[in-house]
């Protein structure tokens, strides 16, 4: 890693901190704008004495001025203290820490599906633009893009989970057999459970990626160096795959970073369909009982993931494209 790359990373991390800080502020504004204060939720519980509620208000610092609350709120966030979940009865951070790896596993597996299928379809289309194949695939990708991800998940669940019985219908692992399996068997069990949710989430994203990849490839194919490659007498496959594609993949790397918000949004729904114990499901389940510490922390954590995802994508793009490194 060169000095310019290091200073680039430091710079980008600083920008990321600013973004997360802004998200935390946004959440604080929403907390303040909400009717009553967050503990009003609890006031309809008859077993809770008014004095106890007052004590809780004080312990949450809700009796102080708004600027003071804001500073204390930021201070707690910096220390990693997101409060105690009202539904889980344990620190929010502990609850999210349990769910986070599952969401990351799902999101990254979906991203892999998204990129493989999306780029693949985009290349097939870009190599024969305006043919019947191209137009049929365009119809497929625009339809995938229009699919409600939870509905596609339900279809997959019925067809491949219940009718054909190829895949389990939900959960992270087989609750009965998993503990008895060999290490390799456990990995296979996990992958078996991961397949349907990851394919569902990835395929919807692939619709967008393919549309993007097709136009990126068509844009590059019109450029001079591609004409040169053709003029040298290279075969069309070599021209497209060796010369055009390498350049047309660059914007896709950035796109993969930008796909993170959609992946995390989609995972909330996919996790609900497949009973996948991730942070989206945790947050969605907490809504009904208005567990605001858990939900707000999940939103801030999601923002952190998006910032890191963008940074990872931009660093990959710099590795792949020397022109970006020279600009510094």
């Amino acid at each position: 890693m060169g000095a310019t790359t290091l200073s680039y990373v430091v710079n980008r991390l600083a920008q990321g901190v600013v973004v997360v800080f802004a998200v935390a502020t946004l959440v604080f504004v929403l907390l303040q704008a909400a009717p009553g204060d967050p503990l009003t939720v609890l006031s309809d519980q008859p077993q809770l004495a008014p004095e106890a509620l007052e004590r809780m208000r004080r312990s949450f610092g809700l009796d102080r001025s708004i600027p003071e609350q804001y500073v204390r709120y930021l201070g707690r966030l910096v220390r990693g203290d997101f409060g105690v979940s009202l539904t889980q009865h344990r620190p929010v951070l502990a609850a999210l820490a349990d769910a986070l790896p599952n969401t990351l596993l799902l999101a990254l597996a979906a991203l892999l599906v998204d990129l493989t299928v999306g780029v693949g379809i985009g290349i097939v289309q870009g190599m024969r633009p305006r043919t019947v194949t191209d137009q049929l695939l365009s119809l497929v990708t625009i339809t995938l893009y229009a699919m409600p991800v939870f509905w596609l998940g339900l279809l997959a669940l019925v067809i491949f989970g219940q009718q054909l019985d190829w895949f389990p219908v939900g959960g992270l692992v087989d609750p009965v057999r998993h503990a008895t399996l060999s290490p390799a068997g456990r990995v296979l069990d996990r992958l078996h459970h991961l397949a349907l949710p990851a394919l569902t989430l990835g395929l919807v994203g692939a619709g967008y990626t393919a549309r993007h990849q097709r136009s990126a490839l068509l844009e590059v194919v019109g450029q001079e160096f591609v004409r040169t490659a053709r003029a040298k007498g290279l075969r069309e496959r070599a021209v497209v795959l060796r010369h055009a594609l390498r350049n047309a993949l660059l914007p896709t790397i950035t796109l993969a970073g930008l796909a993170f918000p959609a992946l995390l949004s989609g995972s909330v729904l996919v996790e609900a369909v497949f009973a996948w114990p991730g942070m989206g499901r945790l947050a969605a389940d907490a809504i009904g009982r208005r567990d605001f510490p858990l939900v707000t922390a999940a939103a801030i954590l999601a923002a952190v993931l998006v910032v890191l995802g963008n940074l990872a994508a931009d660093l990959t793009a710099r590795l792949a494209d020397p022109r970006l490194r020279q600009e510094g």
């Binding site: 998200v23 946004l26 625009i142 409600p148 019925v158 999601a302 998006v306």
Partner: protein, 267 residues
Amino acid sequence: MRIRLGLALVLALVALALFAPLLAPYPPAAQLDLETLRTVPPSMAHPFGTDPYSRDLLSRVLHGARLSLTIALLAVALAVTVGTAIGLASGWAGGLADTVLMRLVDAGLAVPKIFIVLVVLALWEKVTVAALIAILGGTGWFGVSRIVRAEVRAARTREYVAAAQALGASAGRVVLRHVLPNVAAPVIVIAAMGVGQVVLLEAGLSYLGVGVPQPTPSWGNIIADGQQVLLTAPWVATSAGLAVVVTVLAFSLLGDGLREHLDPRTR
């Protein structure tokens, strides 16, 4: 071609939504007969079948169109108005205001939208349809403002702006009469695409049970009703899901078509 197909589908959907009360054979929330009409498969009397509460699905899907499209169109109108106003102000003013606003936009884009909506839903007790529109619109303007701002930054240096200023036009007049029409094209495209995205988001929220409350029909909560009987009565979730796909497809085609039409470079 795309633009015509998209426009035709959109107009057809709007017509179905507008005339839903006339077209729907039954009131959408009416439980027709809990003894004999629960999850009846599609037939002449009930072309889309009935749901587990013996409600007529054709009527629910038609009324769902009314609600989904109203929510999506109004939310997008709100998002586009706010986003355009902030983009124009930020891009034209520059300086500190621009920096602060764009960091705010970065933050808005960094939180997956469904999480912002979940936060709001966790904090407010009752969510009415009007509130849902406000939430979806209020969280949908970040992307619009970023695009408008970029267009305004580019437009600032153009001759027509200098010409208008030389003629003594005020900043407000230059922005609204000269810059705005020139940044309208990408806004129209993003608005068309945005309607489909809001339809998807609203369906997702209603599916999770935090969007449109029962018994009011929304495509999302019809799919949620269908989930319970997915194996025995797959038609419940199928019709509403297809309605979402067709709607999002229609607005995507329209957006794609408009982009090609409005941006000569892609022709």
